[in-house]
Symmetry: C2
Subunit: 208 residues, 2 copies
């Protein structure tokens, strides 16, 4: 436990970063294991080893706490920078990004978290909104940049609706990993290549 430090964010007392990290980690774990409805502030406090009042001093509700736990998690994820997207050929970028994306998409932790966020999209839209704003939107902007470039290169139709095409690509992966008999990383890599190929971004068989 470090000495509590002041923080400009939040309410009440100065925050202890280690305590906050333990609380956010416990909240994310419980959300993935039990969903929003199966998670309570008491359970989070117990798993993080803090008192319930400590939680309520920092977060006014379970939804606020879970939203910040999701935001914290997505910040730790790496993604290609805009500079990389503009510097590389779309096909080179895909080859570079796909293996790590396949590993992540096939992992149980990712599948479980995506399931929970999708699962609470109608009952607790605030969680999806956080995930959307902090995780999905920046990645959509990069995907749109890649697709616009591919349009210039003649790989994707100039009149394609890029928002719809991005939904088809991201939606296929989200949908696939929640189906019965989910793919392992090797199968997921093959799958991602097939998705990119169907979108027009990946070499046809004779170029492989």
């Amino acid at each position: 436990m470090t000495v509590p430090q002041g923080s400009p964010r939040g309410r009440g007392r100065p925050r202890d970063p280690e305590t906050d990290a333990a609380i956010l980690a416990a909240a994310l774990e419980l959300f993935v294991e039990r969903g929003v409805e199966g998670t309570s502030m008491e359970q989070v406090a117990k798993r993080a080893g803090v008192g319930k009042l400590t939680l309520y001093r920092r977060w006014s509700s379970k939804e606020d706490l879970l939203a910040q736990a999701i935001e914290q998690w997505v910040r730790a994820e790496v993604t290609p920078s805009a500079a990389e997207v503009y510097a590389l050929e779309p096909r080179d970028l895909i080859e570079r990004v796909l293996p790590a994306a396949a590993e992540m998409a096939a992992s149980t932790g990712f599948r479980a978290l995506v399931a929970r966020i999708m699962g609470s999209a109608v009952s607790h839209p605030a969680l999806m909104e956080v995930y959307w704003r902090h995780y999905i939107l920046p990645r959509r902007e990069l995907a749109a940049a890649m697709l616009r470039r591919a349009q210039q290169d003649g790989l994707v139709a100039v009149d394609a609706d890029l928002d719809v095409l991005i939904d088809m690509m991201a939606g296929a992966v989200t949908y696939r990993v929640l189906q019965p008999d989910p793919p392992d990383a090797t199968e997921m890599l093959r799958y991602l290549r097939a998705v990119y190929r169907q979108a027009g971004l990946y070499p046809p068989p004779e170029e492989k």
Copy 2:
């Protein structure tokens, strides 16, 4: 309440179809409102106006009960028959099916149920399996028949991976309806046309 009738299915006492229907309807409602973790056999019994023992005589667990509630719901949904799929041109079939599909996809009830099923895919895979087997698979077979025909007509590439393409189409819709700011039925119809068009199944602008 009708006179209880014998039934070859299930365990214990003869079933009363009206009681079963009330229990299954209550279970589906609670699942949509509260998710698997937020739903208990007690709550279902209370909402259906029956005793808890009545539930346990028929279903050994909450998961079994919810699986049957989902199965019952999907049986009531209509879908074009295989004969229609084979008799119509793909584009005529799409025009015929799309308005009703857009209405359904944009409805809050559908969005909420899909969210819950996706949400429990990792924690309670049995529910996704029931939905997959009884609802998704028959529709995928019809979609595959339509796409194979479109391949013969030169609308879809002969070497397209149809499983992946179906995931892209169905995944886009599932993904879109769970995003913040979900579409209404009019916007959903436009969206479905864009998805079908991207897949190669829908007329390009000059033919509209």
